[in-house]
């Protein structure tokens, strides 16, 4: 498992990017790390793999203290950074061989893992293609595959599905889930919340260098408002509790934690007022459940803890 405690990391004497970061990922658990740009998500990964030296705090990888035994900790970790970091003129197979070999694999074990990982991320047919000739999504999968080669005890994936189509995204998520099922602790950074459902992941929300909330997606979004959008032919009528968005005279917004009930009430009110004429002018209804954006807005610029079951 991965245990990060009170981590403080900064760049070149500037204000800390991580400022008391606490996070624990158990063996076999997938934690989706989400948060606005600059929250410190990538910085955390760079600190875990030893590319950044923390000012304070502790990182423990599968029982190994990262500061005391950095090589041992790195050997237990797989990392696919946010930016593409592969040898573009080398083939997928050559990249996998290199990173697998550096992690200590060799001979039959290396060949077997290479075959398995390539299959898992749907790259078998592209093994002998140079990385520069792959699409963006294929490159991201190849990068994730290099991090998974040695079945690390801790896997750090930083937005691995950017540019991936739905089918290949599913393949990658399945590969990550399978690795977790064999005991790997996975820290999965993303801005795309729905894919965390596919990973059966819990969520950690980071902002301003700290973890502000921790729980399942449902728990974290439970008390956030959904939005019902009512669009009318002609100007929108008066409606109790509705918001009129500026510049959209034919639209009303209803916000609340129970959108179906709010919608039913609105329909009742429209049907009774003005002999139902306003209801006849109703053109469309859209219900949008709460999203990650809503959570960010609620947390505010510096964040306000909304821990569902603590950090």
């Amino acid at each position: 498992m991965l245990a990060v405690t009170g981590l403080v990391v900064g760049y070149g004497g500037g204000p800390p990017v991580l400022d008391g970061f606490d996070l624990r990922v158990e063996a076999g658990e997938v934690v989706g790390l989400i948060g606005p740009n600059g929250a410190g998500k990538s910085t955390l990964a760079r600190a875990v793999v030893g590319l950044l030296r923390p000012g304070r705090g502790q990182i423990v990888v599968a029982g190994v203290d990262q500061r005391r035994q950095p090589r041992a900790a790195r050997a237990l970790t797989g990392w696919a950074p946010q930016e593409l970091a592969l040898y573009l003129r080398a083939t997928v197979r050559e990249n996998l061989r290199l990173f697998g070999g550096l992690a200590g694999l060799g001979g039959a074990r290396l060949r077997s893992r290479l075959k398995l990982v390539a299959e898992a991320v749907a790259l078998t047919g592209l093994l002998d293609t140079q990385v520069r000739r792959l699409s963006g999504g294929q490159q991201r999968r190849a990068q994730a595959a290099t991090a998974m080669m040695h079945e690390p005890r801790v896997l750090l994936l930083d937005e691995p599905t950017v540019g991936a189509d739905p089918i290949t995204r599913e393949a990658l998520l399945a590969a990550v889930r399978a690795l977790a099922d064999r005991g790997t602790a996975v820290l999965y950074t993303t801005h795309y919340l729905p894919e965390l459902d596919g990973l059966d992941a819990t969520v950690a929300v980071a902002a301003a260098g700290r973890v502000l909330a921790r729980g399942t997606r449902a728990e974290l979004l439970a008390d956030l408002d959904a939005t019902v959008t009512l669009t009318f032919h002609g100007p929108a009528p008066a409606l109790t509790g509705a918001i009129r968005p500026p510049g959209r005279p034919g639209t009303l917004l209803l916000r609340g934690s129970d959108p179906e009930r709010r919608l039913a009430g609105a329909v009742r009110e429209l049907g009774t007022a003005g002999s139902g004429a306003d209801l006849v002018r109703l053109r469309s209804v859209a219900v949008r459940p709460p999203t990650l954006d809503d959570l960010y807005r609620r947390l505010g610029p510096l964040g306000r803890p909304v821990a569902a079951h603590g950090v």
């Binding site: 590319l51 790195r74 003129r89």
Partner: protein
Amino acid sequence: MIARHTALLVTRDPGPMIGYTLMPLLLMAVLRPLYGALYPGRPQSALAQLAPGLAVMFALFALKVVGAGLLDERIGRTWDRLAAGPARPGEILVGKALPFLGMVLVQQAVLLGVAWAAFGLRPRDGWALVAGAAFVWSLAILAAGTAAARFARSPAQLSAAGDVAAIAVTCLSGALVPRRLLPGWASAVAPYTPGYWGLRVYQQALRAEVGSLLRAAAILLAIALLSAALAVGGSLRGAGR
């Protein structure tokens, strides 16, 4: 593992290095009569200026290839991937550097080999000292290329700076125009350029003057160490977030 992978990458893009190996051969062929006129009745002296001079000049151009290979690692963030694994920094550096050292050595060997086979260059005391000189000079080039990769911000910047540096050092070191024919100010500057000591180490090896050879080799090794220290300082820095 890293060295084998790097060697593979070097062979995937051989164009620049082939160019920097073939061009000096052409130059050697066309400049030979000119150097013969500069050293009348002394063909070995003419060749001892021409062949090492071109070896020095085009090793300086090859420095760009070394630098570009390592700059790619930095810009492409693959260096970070290597550093995030269990390999020690020293293992990574050696693994990355060895294939480039081999590449420069091959270039120097081809150049001196052609000078021997086609133009009759003959070291006074066999090739062992010349091989040692080539090794030390290539080591200095490798280290300087590594340091260049640490300071360059882009391949274009590295290429432009590399061209300027290669021409300037070649001209000022006496590698192209013998030092005795350089203008006074340039002749005075020559010993402060690495190219001068590259030329010296080759010429002393060809003449089998071991004392002078060792002195030149020591200065080149000092340049290599200084460059390597700068390069290592850069490679151990954390990159952006």
